[in-house]
């Protein structure tokens, strides 16, 4: 594996994307600039690709790789083997011709910059698919081709058929893309890597895996939808609503070829087994026959070419399905030939459409005398499509016939394949003949709006180049396409050296043999069929063929819509209660399922369990009564708050009892602040809860049962956990707390040091919560609802300021403030070694401030403090963040902590850790967030306050 980086390879891929971005900035009125830019980008990328030719022919695989998702083992890697080179050449070479053609094709009112931007975007996506060196990246680009082809097919967005066609193509190929992703993920699971080199070398592992058949089906679903294989072919004819340059590009060299590219790419890993043989060959054969026969009966020029494309894709798929090395070579060869002649035919059809205003073969007749050069070009290209000798299509068709006759491993197919091949050949000749005869001969044009004439000189150039290629390859295959075919087929078969290639010869004449006979029968039969059809039933009078899978597609889509609608109505009825109930029930169901599927692991501990003493039992009883009481009296809200306050106190006592002094302090302080906030809010809300449905019973038993289930479940889990032994990572924190964190209080050390990044996020959330409250209530004025006497702590009640102020409280509050602030600072300072820290100190400070508000009224308190709590949040976050950045400056990762002991007179050695500054940020942020919320609610009743 060559490890050198080929940045030029990355540039080859990036150029089209960069071009697309630049084109989006080009005005649509600059028609020439847009076309020149697109052409230049395509040619530059093509030239870059060609510089790799010597390496590719030297059995090297140029690569480029950068890390992308290292944790998933997925890199952004490109590799250029023979197959990728072939496809890259087709994509960029035919792409350049399509750009030239498109420049002349677009009408004056078609925005050229947008068109070429989409085209380059698509080109880049296709290049990505063929260059990707791992399967995840391949899928990403695969989906990009679906998206960009959607944009291209729907380019004429004012036309309904274009929009419909684009939507259908996206739905079908997008669905296939999802299947492919699933298949790729399974491959990754089986192989242990998404890397293409490893996957392609893991044939045995993959094919012995029980997951092989699902993998194969999923990957094939992706390939078949993209390559329009039966029964997913129906999107392709409808994609003909696209501008013809797009059809010429998508349906010759690119989009649909992505599917067969995938077959070729995955062949070394997934091919060479019965499942592959049967699925791929039968899908290919049905598509080949169906497409060829249906094509004869199309009246639309592009419709005929569309079904012909489906048929030829079927042929290529069938060749890969035949599962022999030589059939694979033939498949690769036909990919090249089909791309060349089909692109030229689409372009010819576009010229005819452009210069006559119609694509209907019932109108188009006798154009030979109006556009002889175009007619000649189309004639040669059709000959290639029909497989007439001296054109390139003949060679790959002969190879196909050879492979069809040597299928010997399967009795049934030994006869079926040659017959099917001959029939398809006959149909191919018939529709090719119709394309030429019906358009250029067969009487005079009927009801055309324009007088037909030759197109502008340079619009024909791409067709000429392609047709010349058809002939040169057809006559001198070994000297022209031979080497390219060889390297591409070698890469497809995943053979490291050219010498390992199976033997084949590229020449027109192989002697008199069965394939030649089949060709002759197909030729003669095709002409006969066409003549008979025109004579006996006159193809012009044939109506629409019976419906195709579009009907099924429409029914499918309609049903999905209906089901989705029903499901939405069932679950999304606009009732929050319904949603919450669904969430809770789902959570319970998931938990029950988990317990049922995975019975509890571990042994129940036999250790003697501590039993609760009388005091503990008593406190617990108080707690349970308080909690249940909250529910029972919840309609009387103020009473419920008292019960809830008791419940909160019992929670704090629980923390005390179970060795968590920091938690107990925090819980206690938060409890105070929460209750005050709730009482404040109750000033503006009804003091009672109305029953939910008038006249209904008071208890909702359904909810009660769900709630009990949730409670029993959670309690049961707690009990199960507590009765089992466990291993914890926490000894690490205990052991490193003093030596590395510089603090004895390991809870605080974890918060401000080990998990400081978490804490930074959490104080940011608290600060944001405060800001949200402030913004939600900004500028609102609400009357206090006074049906009950005002609650004691409510400091917004609508009474004279003096009437609700207690002098005693004011005196006490004034005295308490400095003391409380001192306590707060003390708790902040000691937090690293003893219970305390930024959170607790901040809450103490906030409570001290709230007391001033309660005692003096909000207006006076704010006037005397003039504190802008929003800024406190900002300073706090800044302090915490800067501490983290500080460690960057001295070369450590974000938030690395350091500490030193300073000797302070009277107090002694004081540890000053950088974490202290972080904790200062926590402190400020907690005060800011808490006070912001409280002050905003408190302000609501004061119309006099400033609306800052």
């Amino acid at each position: 594996m060559s490890s050198s980086q080929h940045s030029l390879l990355a540039l080859t891929l990036l150029l089209p994307f960069m071009g697309a971005v630049v084109l989006l900035r080009v005005g649509n009125e600059q028609r020439k600039l847009a076309a020149w830019l697109a052409g230049a980008v395509t040619l530059a990328s093509f030239a870059l690709l060609l510089t790799f030719a010597p390496m590719v022919w030297n059995d090297e695989v140029p690569r480029f790789r950068v890390e992308w998702l290292p944790s998933l083992g997925v890199g952004f890697g490109l590799r250029l083997d023979g197959l990728a080179f072939l496809f890259g050449g087709l994509i960029l070479g035919i792409g350049a011709l399509v750009v030239l053609y498109g420049a002349y094709y677009l009408a004056d009112n078609d925005p050229p910059a947008r068109f070429f931007a989409f085209l380059l975007f698509f080109m880049g996506a296709m290049l990505g698919v063929v260059l990707a060196d791992n399967l995840i990246l391949l899928v990403v680009f695969w989906e990009l081709t679906s998206v960009s082809s959607f944009l291209l097919i729907g380019f004429w967005r004012h036309r309904e058929d274009a929009r419909q066609g684009a939507r259908m193509a996206l739905a079908v190929t997008g669905l296939g893309g999802l299947a492919l992703l699933a298949g790729v993920l399974l491959i990754g699971k089986v192989v242990g890597s998404y890397d293409l080199d490893i996957v392609l070398a893991s044939k045995v592992v993959l094919q012995n895996s029980p997951l092989f058949v699902p993998i194969l089906l999923l990957v094939l679903l992706g390939a078949f939808t993209k390559s329009a294989q039966f029964p997913f072919h129906f999107w392709l004819p409808r994609a003909m609503a696209a501008p013809t340059p797009v059809s010429a590009y998508l349906h010759s060299a690119t989009m649909v070829k992505a599917g067969v590219f995938l077959l070729a790419r995955m062949y070394p890993a997934l091919g060479d087994n019965d499942a592959w043989f049967w699925i791929v060959s039968s899908a290919g054969m049905i598509t080949l026959l169906m497409g060829a026969v249906v094509a004869i009966f199309q009246h639309d020029l592009k419709g005929l070419l569309a079904y012909s494309t489906i048929s030829h894709l079927g042929l290529i798929t069938l060749l890969f399905g035949l599962d022999t090395p030589l059939a694979v070579v033939a498949g690769v060869f036909h990919i090249i030939n089909h791309a060349v002649f089909k692109a030229s035919l689409f372009m010819a059809a576009g010229i005819i459409d452009h210069e006559t205003g119609s694509r209907d073969m019932r109108q188009l007749n006798g154009l030979w005398k109006h556009m002889p050069i175009t007619a000649t070009l189309a004639l040669v290209a059709s000959a290639a499509m029909a497989g007439v000798p001296l054109a390139n299509g003949f060679l790959s068709k002969e190879m196909f016939f050879v492979e069809a006759t040597v299928v010997d491993s399967h009795q049934l197919l030994q006869f079926a394949t040659p017959i099917a091949a001959t029939i398809a050949g006959m149909a191919g000749v018939a529709y090719s003949l119709r394309f030429i005869h019906d358009v250029f001969f067969n009487g005079e044009p009927v009801g055309l709006t324009k007088t037909p004439h030759e197109p502008p000189r340079f619009m024909r150039v791409p067709v000429e180049i392609l047709v010349v290629l058809c002939l040169v390859v057809g006559v001198f295959p070994a000297y022209t396409v031979g080497p390219l075919l060889s390297v591409a087929a070698q890469a497809t078969l995943n053979l490291p050296l050219a010498a390992q290639m199976p033997q084949y010869t590229l020449s027109i004449w192989h002697g008199f043999n069965l394939p030649l006979l089949m060709s002759a029968i197909a030729m003669a039969g095709g002409v006969t069929v066409y003549v008979l059809l025109q004579r006996k039933i006159n193809l012009h009078t044939v109506g629409k063929l019976p419906g195709d899978a579009k009907v099924l597609f429409d029914v499918f889509i309609e049903n999905i819509t209906v089901i989705a609608g029903a499901l939405t109505r069932l679950t999304q009825n606009g009732s929050l209660q319904r949603y919450l109930l669904l969430i809770v029930v789902t959570a319970i169901a998931v938990a029950v399922a988990a317990v049922w599927l995975y019975p509890a692991v571990g042994v129940v501990s036999n250790l003697p369990m501590e039993s609760a003493n009388v005091v503990v039992m008593g406190v617990a009883l108080i707690g349970v009564v308080a909690v249940i009481g909250t529910v029972v009296v919840h309609r009387a809200r103020l009473t419920a708050l008292i019960y809830m306050g008791v419940a909160g106190l019992v929670v704090a006592l629980t923390f005390v009892y179970f060795s968590a002094p920091d938690l107990a302090l925090t819980q206690l302080l938060v409890e105070v602040v929460t209750i005050i906030l709730m009482m404040l809010a109750l000033n503006f809300l009804p003091k009672q809860s109305k029953p939910e449905l008038a006249g209904r019973r008071q208890v909702n038993w359904r909810d009660a049962i769900v709630a009990s289930a949730a409670g029993i479940g959670v309690g049961w889990i707690v009990y199960q956990v507590l009765t089992r032994p466990f291993a914890s990572i926490s000894p690490y924190f205990l052991q490193t707390s003093v030596p590395q964190g510089g603090g004895a209080n390991s809870v605080n050390v974890i918060i401000v040091d080990f998990r400081a990044f978490d804490t930074l996020g959490e104080i940011a959330v608290l600060g944001m919560a405060g800001l949200i409250v402030a913004l939600l209530l900004r500028g609102m004025v609400m009357p206090v609802r006074n049906e009950n006497p005002p609650s004691g702590a409510a400091f917004g009640a609508k009474m004279p300021e003096t009437a609700r102020q207690s002098l005693l409280l004011q005196v006490l509050a004034s005295l308490l403030l400095p003391v409380a602030i001192m306590v707060s600072i003390y708790f902040y300072l000691r937090g690293h070694n003893l219970p305390g820290g930024g959170f607790i100190a901040g809450l103490i400070f906030a409570v001290a401030l709230i007391l001033q508000y309660v005692a003096f009224g909000q207006a006076r308190a704010e006037a005397s403090f003039k504190l802008d709590y929003g800024k406190w949040v900002g300073w706090g976050l800044l302090a915490a963040g800067l501490t983290g950045i500080g460690s960057w400056l001295v070369g450590f990762p974000f938030l690395t902590s350091t500490f030193k002991y300073f000797s302070v007179p009277l107090i002694g050695a004081v540890p000053v850790a950088s974490a202290m500054f972080f904790d200062l940020g926590v402190f400020l942020c907690v005060i800011g967030g808490t006070m912001l919320a409280l002050a905003s609610v408190g302000k609501l009743s004061r119309p006099d306050r400033e609306t800052a």
């Binding site: 009732s575 929670v651 060795s659 929460t674 009804p686 709630a707 707690v718 507590l722 205990l734």
Partner: protein
């Protein structure tokens, strides 16, 4: 009764009560429910570090630093911030409740007043209920922002 069973029952009762209130139709009841649920969740996480009595995780010199001598500090650190965050959540929900009451003129969790508002509009039951609870049926009380 073992301590484990006792605390399990405690968490279960908190969770059940919280969920029942969460499913009520009035905003304030829902906030009460969420507060009880956050108690339950905080205790749940805290108890995952097992029950330790008299072993606060404050390192004392000479005492080996292991879980036999100290309570597990990690769940405590997680819960400490969680307590403060639940306050933030409660504050935001209360602000939403107040704002919603001002804008909609009722304190139902759904802006359209839920299924019962329609029922009430059609009948006089609302007034009866209100009288029964001694409430004046509130007119829309919110005023437009300045």
């Amino acid at each position: 009764m073992s301590l484990a069973l006792l605390v399990a029952i405690g968490v279960g009762v908190l969770m059940a009560s919280g969920v029942y209130l969460l499913l009520r139709a009035r905003t304030f009841d829902m906030v009460l429910g969420l507060t009880l649920i956050s108690y339950a969740v905080n205790l749940f996480i805290f108890f995952m570090g097992r029950l330790a009595v008299g072993k606060a995780p404050i390192i004392r010199a000479g005492v080996p630093e292991n879980l036999a001598n100290y309570a597990d500090p990690l769940p405590q650190a997680l819960v400490l911030t969680a307590i403060v965050i639940s306050f933030g959540m409660t504050a935001v929900l209360l602000a939403v409740a107040v704002r919603s009451y001002a804008e909609n003129g009722h304190d139902h969790v759904d802006a359209d007043g839920g299924p019962d508002v329609a029922t009430e509009a059609a009948t006089d039951v609302a007034t009866d209920v209100a009288t029964e609870f001694g409430i004046n049926v509130p007119p829309p009380t919110g005023s437009a922002p300045k």
